[in-house]
Amino acid sequence: MKKNLKYNLTWLAIMVVGYVVINLLEFAGIIDQFGENTMVLIGINIILATGLNLIIGFSGQFSLGHAGFMAIGAYVCALITSSVATPMGMAIGMIAGAAVSALVALIVGIPTLRLDGDYLAIATMGVAEIIRIILNNLKITNGPAGLYNIPLLATWPVVYFMVCVTTLIIVNFIHSRDGRAVMSVRENEIAAESMGVNTTKWKVLAFVIGAATAAIGGALHANYIQTIAPTDFGIMESINILIIVVLGGIGSITGTFVAAVVLGLLDMILQNFGTLRMVLYSLALILLMVFKPSGLLGTWEFSVRNLFNRFTRSTKQKGDA
């Protein structure tokens, strides 16, 4: 933790600068209401996709059920903020949503994470569908009509703050001892196990953290869009998040950011094409995958540490010369 403090502080500075710059642009009128809307949606997608990237990219478990955990977060937070419509309520809602989602992920994960590859994908998809169908039939969630008049609490600064927090947590987790254990499971489960790594434990932990971030994403979604219904959290939503992860490069958090921004902008530009929008979107997706199968960035990661190292190395070389 201490070792990473310098890098974390640098990141913090970058985040603060980013916030100030965006606020200035907004103040100057360069980013209008429509632009802010796009930014919030991109932010929510980043939160959802980094969580899924932790599960798929770093622990190597193929989950197709991310939308189910997103739904739990969205409903729990919406129910809480509907009665306590304050930023405090929003915070409690997000924490409660993440906690419930993590609990469900724990219960579901322990038996199903024994399955591998596509069997796990289909089992997690089944779990997400069961969650959706339960939400569709409960009284408290208002059935198929869903919840509406949810207070607008996920404003732009809140979403920005949560993007920073979840990314910091996940990146620090990946770079810790625990994170290396998780990655060893991805690289070779048998080898990891024989080195004394409790593979089930780390797989479940990554799954639970991913589910908790999905819940936070869902909570922000609910309090930004202001209406939620079970149909919002179908298989297509899981697939949309998966597309961001794969397009950016599996196992690259930077790639997830880039892909979320690229897809968000693509979506914004294609708004003008009406019904042709999805046709062009799917064509772009196929072409990108055919010509760049490893994703936009592969496993490349933007890292402050490397930047620092390069900087110190180049100054040292200058000194030598």
Partner: protein, 288 residues
């Protein structure tokens, strides 16, 4: 008993679709997400040839199978072949892209309205005691079973079938003994897509309505059926399809129609936990 009949006819549609999934998965380990949309294309083809060219049912069925086989081969050639050696998840995303393209392309060209399928056959109800069967249900059941037997014969008895089995066991070794892998995979796609086309025309006749998004849910259910039966195994897909069809109609008959999909997934998860390779799948021991 009545539910058994309904369940069997629904199940045979799932089984036909599941066969396509299972064969493609068996040979290139790809979840072909676009398979459900090929079934939709089959239904639309049937709609047009019956309405415009006044084909009878059998001609529509055969031409839809031919058309879908062609579409399947073209999709494989353009979208999946370039990705044969890349990570499997990339191929999966491409399959999802193809699925989006087919759905939205059809919605763009033909509007997303629900259309009623032309009734080329007069519906007759036969009563056997308390059970009533329509001639369409008998037709679906008979055609599906004939197609499944034919498929099993192709895979078991012909040279191409032998090649398919060889490629699915070990592509590299198959290539070494002179099997043309590309042609074998194309043939697999053609067979699977033809089955989906037949299912599309029959479901159009049975439910009497088609739309560009009709392939999504049955596609996913059929994949679940393939996994349930043991993916990669043709008899497994058939069993899985019938199990899911029966389970769905049973839940509906018991008055839990809101939970019928949940029941399907719950059974799937339970079976996977007990038998991780599906009902008929053999458990392969991990070797270090």
């Amino acid at each position: 008993m009545q539910q058994l009949v309904n369940g069997l006819s629904l199940g045979s549609i799932y089984a036909l679709l599941a066969l396509g999934y299972t064969m493609v998965y068996g040979i290139i380990k790809l979840i072909n997400f676009a398979h459900g949309d090929i079934y939709m294309l089959g239904a639309f083809w049937g709609y047009y040839v019956i309405n415009q060219l006044h084909f009878n049912f059998w001609l529509a069925l055969a031409s839809a199978m031919l058309f879908c086989a062609l579409v399947g081969v073209v999709i494989e050639y353009l979208a999946y072949r370039p990705l044969r050696n890349s990570p499997r998840i990339a191929a999966l995303i491409t399959a999802i892209g193809v699925s989006f393209l087919l759905e939205n392309g059809m919605a763009y060209m033909f509007s997303s309205n629900v259309r009623s399928f032309p009734q080329v056959m007069k519906v007759k109800q036969y009563h056997l005691g308390s059970v009533s069967i329509s001639n369409i249900q008998i037709l679906i059941l008979a055609v599906s079973i004939i197609l499944m037997i034919l498929l099993q014969l192709i895979v078991r008895k012909t040279k191409m079938g032998k090649a398919m089995r060889a490629v699915s066991v070990d592509p590299a070794a198959a290539q070494l003994i002179g099997i043309n892998i590309d042609r074998t995979i194309s043939f697999t796609f053609a067979l699977g897509s033809a089955m989906a086309g037949a299912a599309g025309v029959m479901i159009g006749l049975y439910y009497n309505s088609i739309d560009p998004l009709m392939g999504m849910t049955p596609g996913i259910k059929a994949f679940v059926a393939a996994v349930l039966g043991g993916i990669g195994l043709i008899p497994g897909a058939a069993i899985g399809g019938f199990v899911i069809g029966l389970l769905e109609t049973l839940m509906q008959a018991l008055g839990f129609s809101a939970f019928k999909d949940a029941a399907v997934y719950a059974v799937l998860i339970i079976i996977l936990l007990i038998r991780p390779a599906g009902i008929l799948g053999k458990k392969i021991k991990e070797k270090v």
